[in-house]
């Protein structure tokens, strides 16, 4: 199954079609909690909820041309709202946060790159 990134949202003009990411894709909350303990032993927690936004990271392997295509896409829409439909056909709306985007050769004609993405609720 494919991995689709479309931008700009909502008037999609370009579609980036990528292969399924490598095993090991990640996602996590962007929220954070900082705890402090006062002198009387009472614990206080300070939270940054970030509205529950999640961060995603996918690793891809493709050809160099596909890598260049990804560079061009990210270069064009790094500050635009994009829509991602991942390999599980789950749609996300947010921003591509990878910076810098780097494609790395891992063979004769294969390159790898990672795309990190932060949802916008």
């Amino acid at each position: 199954m494919s991995f689709i990134i479309q931008a700009p949202y909502p008037l999609m003009q370009d579609t980036l079609l990528l292969p399924s990411p490598r095993i090991g894709n990640q996602k996590n909350l962007s929220s954070s909690v900082q705890t402090m303990i006062s002198m009387n032993g009472k614990m206080y927690s300070y939270v940054k909820s970030k509205q529950g936004r999640k961060l995603h990271k996918w690793d891809f392997i493709g050809t160099k041309d596909k890598g260049r295509e990804v560079i061009q896409f990210v270069k064009e829409y790094s500050d635009e709202l994009v829509k991602v439909v991942d390999h599980d056909e789950t749609s996300y709306l947010g921003y591509i946060t990878i910076n810098p985007l780097e494609i790395s050769g891992i063979g004769r004609e294969a390159y790898s790159w990672s795309i990190s993405f932060e949802e916008k609720l």
Partner: protein, 655 residues
């Protein structure tokens, strides 16, 4: 030898207006033995203070030397006595120190041919009681009395050395009273030596300031000890090595595979996921101050109120992202309860209360559709039970057969009670929609049973096989049921009750009747006080043994005419009716007799011993008299005999 001192006045005069440091008063008396006497008269010794100034001490020394040397006792039967009495007073006012010393040296050197005894008495009295001081100027009074008393003789037959003195110290301040004793006796020749040192130390106090006086312990013994153990050497090592604290109580493993997160505030939410990987970690963080001295000694300090942070690190794998969406549920739980206290119930059944401090940990899809995430939890153990305790027990009831029954089934209840006393009861129940219970039967209770299995001794006083009393019988009646012919009987106490049914049975054997003579089996009124009584009052004809109901085995002419008899209040032969059954009426040998007494109505039965069924030989009849107190059998003659095989009385209760 005598010393006479008269009219001697030795005094120290001072002017109160002046404060003197010292006054020296010396009085010397010298007595020479050659003269044998000292006569002092009109002697006045006084110290007049002529100088002004401040004196710290007053010294009053009185020295008296009395020497008796070269005394030759012409008459050896006389006792040489040397008495010397002294009195010295020292009065001072306003002085810091008052010293009053009295020194006595008394020597007796006796040279004589034969000395009987020498009495050397030294009486001393030193009194420094009249010291008046100033209340605002504490002073010290030193009263020392040194006595050197010794007596020496050339060839004494006995030496008596008595030393007695009284040392008194009066003082307003705390009292110290020390008496030093030293007594030694040195002799040249003696038969025996007796050295007795008797000490008596009494402390009298007349002191208004004293609360208590203790004059017993003069030795005090105190000791301290130190126990050297690990605890004393490790008191500062509260967080290292060994210590006195108890460990964390162990919690038995429940091997529950569930790992539950539960919210405590806001929307109640419980998330159950799989247990973390086995490499989970617990981290204990605490605050303490470490200082190492230059000598290398480590000093550690930690206040007990300083917080200790307990963190748990979990790694959970294989969280699905498919239909179960465990990873998304977990992230949503983190987001919904950011910074809030939650409960974690781990796989050991331990509950933790705290905060997830790393909700933004990265979850990795390391397998297609399965995620792995790690997070850190900071909290503490709480006492309580597992929230969602599940009992993994499958309760099964396995039975065989069918439970169902048809509507027309019969429920039979067989209630059998068998005992040696009661017999057997059987009853049946009908089962309709309810239960109808009809029970018929008789409950038997033996009152008297005797099979006369005893010996040839007298039956009188013997106890039956069943029964609470004993037989009252003529001596001709034996315990084995036999008898020698006598016009008397053997009786057993029996008092029937109202509304009760009794079966009285006799089993006579070996009956030998003669013409006109009777053997009676009956319920009677009473007993003779003498069991060997003979005659009509002994065999049931008249009181006290008057027959009330019974049987008569008799022969009239040559025919056996067995009959049933009733007696009234005084006549035991009031009513006699022959057996209705001709065969039993003519029975002259063994026969079984039964009398049924039902609420003062009698019915007579008889049978052949070989038969199992009873034959009514007289129909039910009312008793003529209800005064029944005994049961037995008798003969009205001295000819006939009978052997009693068995007697029984059974109480029947209809149920």
């Amino acid at each position: 030898m005598a010393i006479r001192v008269s009219n001697v006045t030795a005094q120290i005069l001072y002017r109160p207006s002046e404060i003197n440091r010292s006054v020296i008063d010396t009085l010397n008396f010298i007595q020479e033995s050659e003269k044998r006497q000292i006569t002092v008269s009109n002697f006045t010794f006084q110290i007049l203070q002529s100088e002004t100034g401040i004196f710290g001490t007053i010294s009053n020394t009185l020295e008296i030397v009395d020497q008796a040397n070269n005394f030759l006792a012409i008459d050896d039967r006389k006792v040489a006595e040397d008495e010397l009495q002294f009195a010295q007073n020292a009065k001072a006012f306003g002085y810091e120190t008052v010293e009053q010393e009295i020194e006595f040296v008394q020597q007796i050197g006796v040279i004589g041919p034969i000395i009987k005894n020498i009495t050397h008495n030294l009486a001393l009295h030193q009194d420094t009681s009249n010291c008046i001081g100033l209340s605002w100027e504490p002073y010290e009074i030193e009263d020392e009395l040194d006595i050197d008393h010794w007596a020496g003789v050339g060839h004494p037959l006995s030496v008596s050395d008595t030393l007695s003195f009284i040392d008194e110290v009066f003082q307003a301040n705390p009292l110290t009273h020390v008496i030093n004793f030293s007594q030694s006796i040195s002799i040249g020749k003696s038969i025996n030596i007796s050295d007795i040192l008797s000490l008596s130390d009494s402390l009298d106090s007349n002191n208004l300031f004293n609360v208590s006086i203790t004059h017993a312990d003069f030795i005090k013994h105190a000791f301290t000890y130190y126990i050297d153990n690990k605890c004393t050497r490790k008191q500062y090592n509260r967080f290292q090595g060994e210590g006195e604290r108890d460990g964390i109580p162990s919690v038995p493993l429940t091997f529950d595979a569930f790992f539950v997160l539960e919210s405590l505030s806001g929307t109640k939410e419980t998330l159950e996921i799989r247990s973390p990987e086995s490499d989970d970690r617990q981290r204990i963080g605490f605050s303490r101050i470490n200082r190492e001295t230059r000598g290398g000694e480590l000093n550690v300090f930690s206040d007990s109120s300083w917080p200790k942070i307990h963190s748990l690190l979990f790694t959970i794998t294989a969280l699905s992202d498919g239909c179960l969406e465990k990873i998304n549920s977990l992230l949503n739980f983190f987001q919904n309860h950011l910074g809030e206290e939650i409960l974690i119930h781990d796989w050991e059944g331990i509950s933790w209360r705290g905060i997830i401090t790393t909700p933004n940990e990265i979850a990795t899809e390391d397998q297609d559709g399965w995620w792995t995430i790690s997070f850190e939890f900071q909290g503490s153990i709480v006492d309580g039970s597992f929230n969602d305790q599940r009992m993994n027990i499958t309760d099964q009831v396995i039975f065989g057969g069918e439970w169902g029954r048809s509507s027309s089934s019969e429920l039979e209840l067989i209630d059998a009670v068998v005992s040696s006393i009661l017999g057997t009861i059987a009853r049946s129940l009908e089962h309709d929609l309810g239960i109808s219970d009809s029970v018929s039967g008789m409950l038997e209770h033996p009152i008297l049973e005797d099979d006369f299995s005893g010996g040839a001794s007298s039956l009188h006083g013997e106890s039956p096989d069943v029964g609470d009393s004993t037989w009252s019988a003529h001596s001709n009646y034996k315990a084995n049921g036999t008898q020698t012919a006598i016009n008397s009987g053997a009786y057993y106490p029996f008092v029937p009750e109202n509304n009760k049914i009794y079966h009285i049975e006799w089993e006579p054997r070996s009956l030998s009747e003669s013409d006109g003579l009777e053997t009676l089996f009956f319920l009677g009124e009473g007993l003779n006080s003498d069991p060997d009584e003979i005659g009509p009052d002994a065999y049931g004809a008249i009181d006290p043994t008057t027959l009330k109901a019974g049987f008569v085995l008799r022969k009239i002419g040559s025919s056996q005419l067995n009959a049933c008899r009733l007696g009234d209040d005084s006549d035991g032969q009031a009513d006699t009716v022959d057996f209705s059954d001709a065969t039993l009426k003519a029975e002259s040998d063994d026969i079984d007799l039964r009398l049924i007494l039902d609420n003062w109505k009698a019915t007579w039965y008889a049978k052949d011993p070989a038969s199992s069924s009873w034959t009514e030989v007289r129909s039910e009849s009312n008793l003529l008299s209800n005064d029944i107190t005994m049961v037995g059998w008798s003969n009205n003659n001295i000819t006939t005999t009978v052997t009693m095989n068995e007697i029984k009385i059974t109480q029947k209760t209809e149920i």
